[in-house]
């Protein structure tokens, strides 16, 4: 076969890589109605790295993440978590949903939201004990929200809400952290705080995957990129894959060239 698709350039993952990958997606197609939003996507997340999923609006970034996590049902395809079916590995996953998908008027306090991250530990009926509260408070402290634990969630700013969600994910003690647009509509201070926590997680050997839309911060924040526009465009380290050529393919040349020049790009 002499013709090769860009998405498959480089070597396809070996069996061991698939087995050890924190999240491997194979042949994933998701459609809303008659239009595939995600088409036949393979994705292999590398352990211990921070990966950004990037692509234009409506390119299926969040949908891919949700389908991989079983939140939406794909038309075809499957996902493996640490080489095993998702069902048996849920305890190793922490998920931070898009802030906009939540009813922030819900009657609950910040600390209660973080305690939700301990659901697997608490189960249906186990009582919340001091150590659970301590753990939840520690997670809030890690994101700089320690002073807000009794606040109703609707009273927080967007950035604060996002940090609470991150604290909840921290409370889950996972190995794989999946975030859906964590920086959407948050202030600069929050963005800094969140990225510091994420880098911290990476140092602990955890894997971080984040849907991301600000191209200018990709090289600074992430190790790897996964570029998608309905189908996969490229996947690899920032140095290899985050190239002007791939960006053109992903964004269909819609990025003004000048803008691309400003990015800290590796020549494509």
């Amino acid at each position: 076969m002499t013709l090769e698709l860009a998405a498959n350039q480089g070597h396809s993952p070996t069996a061991e890589q698939l087995d050890s990958s924190p999240l491997a997606v194979r042949g994933m197609t998701v459609s809303y109605g008659q239009k595939p939003v995600v088409f036949s996507v393979d994705m292999t997340i590398v352990e211990g790295a921070m990966t950004a999923i990037i692509g234009p609006n409506g390119a299926g970034k969040s949908t891919l993440l949700k389908a991989a996590l079983g939140i939406v049902k794909p038309l075809s395809g499957q996902s493996l978590v640490f080489g095993k079916p998702l069902r048996s590995q849920r305890h190793r996953i922490a998920y931070v949903p898009q802030r906009a998908s939540i009813d922030w008027d819900f009657p609950t306090r910040v600390i209660d939201v973080v305690l939700m991250g301990l659901f697997r530990e608490l189960g249906l009926l186990r009582r919340v004990r001091q150590r659970h509260l301590d753990k939840a408070r520690a997670c809030l402290d890690r994101v700089g929200m320690g002073d807000f634990s009794d606040r109703q969630i609707g009273q927080l700013s967007g950035g604060q809400q996002q940090r609470v969600f991150l604290a909840r994910a921290l409370a889950q003690d996972a190995d794989l952290y999946l975030l859906d647009e964590p920086f959407a509509g948050v202030d600069a201070a929050t963005e800094k705080a969140i990225i510091a926590v994420l880098k911290n997680l990476r140092e602990e050997g955890k894997t971080v995957v984040s849907v991301h839309h600000d191209l200018s911060t990709v090289p600074e924040y992430f190790d790897r990129v996964f570029m998608i526009n309905t189908s996969k465009i490229a996947e690899g380290t920032v140095a290899d894959a985050f190239t002007a050529k791939n960006l053109d393919k992903t964004y269909g040349g819609r990025l003004a060239t000048a803008h691309v020049d400003q990015l800290d790009l590796v020549a494509g």
Binding site: M1, L5, S12, S31, S40, L75, S76, G252
Partner: protein
Amino acid sequence: MFWDAIFLQLGYNATLVTIGACFLGIAAGVTGTFLFLRKRALVSDAISHATLPGVALAFIIMVSFGLDGRNLIGLLAGSAVSAWFGLLCVSWLTRFTRLAEDAAIGAVLSVFFGFGIVLLTVIQSMSAGRQAGLEGFLLGSTAGMLWNDAIIIVVGGALTLAIVLAYRRPMEMVSFDPEFAAASGLNVARIDLIIMWLAMAVTVVGLKIVGLILIVAMLIIPPVTARFWTDRTDRVALISGGVGGAAGYLGAALSASAPSLPTGPIIVLVSFAFFAVSLFFAPNRGVLAAFLRHRSFQRRVHMRQGLLALAQGQPIYEALTLKLLRNADLARADGVATETGRARAAKALRDEKRWEIVRADQAFEGAAALYDGLREIETVLTSDQIQEIDQRIGGPKGVLS
């Protein structure tokens, strides 16, 4: 009997009720369309339940002034006033508290209805109240209706219909695109108000025929039915009016043709029959059509994915994909491509490569937006353009196609 009823041969009252129900059905269908398109269908439920205390209070007031408590105009006026008050409560609760509209609707309908029941028991204990027959307003009762009442229903139905038709255009505009309507100088809030007034008028006129519990059906079922057949606002209104009118006419006639066939429920069930047929058999939006389309779509996706996998020598993960490939004689049971399979796979891969170029090139932006993994590239580009792309690919020529 049934044909007699259909051809209005069952006496003056039955005839008037049938005609009135038909007018009412058309008016309800058209009004309901705008409620439905404004996503406020169940507001009508609050309106209709909120009529009950008004009916009861009107009765009490009329009796205490020494009038006949059963005067239909008086009762309907009372029902309109309390329905309006209920509507105000719904909008006040949603605007000034954190409660969502569904909770406000539910609260208003249950509390007003409960208070209405309290008043009904008060009336039962009044000496004049024993034969008030106000319970008839719950489910409607056309049996033993007076000639005057029948006239009121026909005139009320005709009037409501006339107003609906008069305001049809602005209501269409507002429910299709409120921002555009506002930009073109329509007072959206006022049109919304008129929609609510009309829903109230339909409810009030329909009280005697259909009853307050089921009148919402006349406002909701016809537009939902109509929605299956068209995507255009004006046609939804038209079809909905037709369905509502037909259901009103057929239902009232059917009910007059035999005993133990209460008018309200029959009208509702006739509209439901229209709805059920539409749900299953409407082209495009119907369940049957959607099912067939989804299945063929799913097959296309699997087929395409399978071909791309074959072309790139990747294993096929999904059983359905393999089955489809085998049925089309493109692959063997072990997932290896046949002769034709290889040719088709190569073509699929070449198309995908062409798409890749198209999507990376600003010059093809319009075409690139149409990419969804399935579309044949020949359907969006001319053969000249494809040739140009093939030159850019520069790969081997003469792939079997």
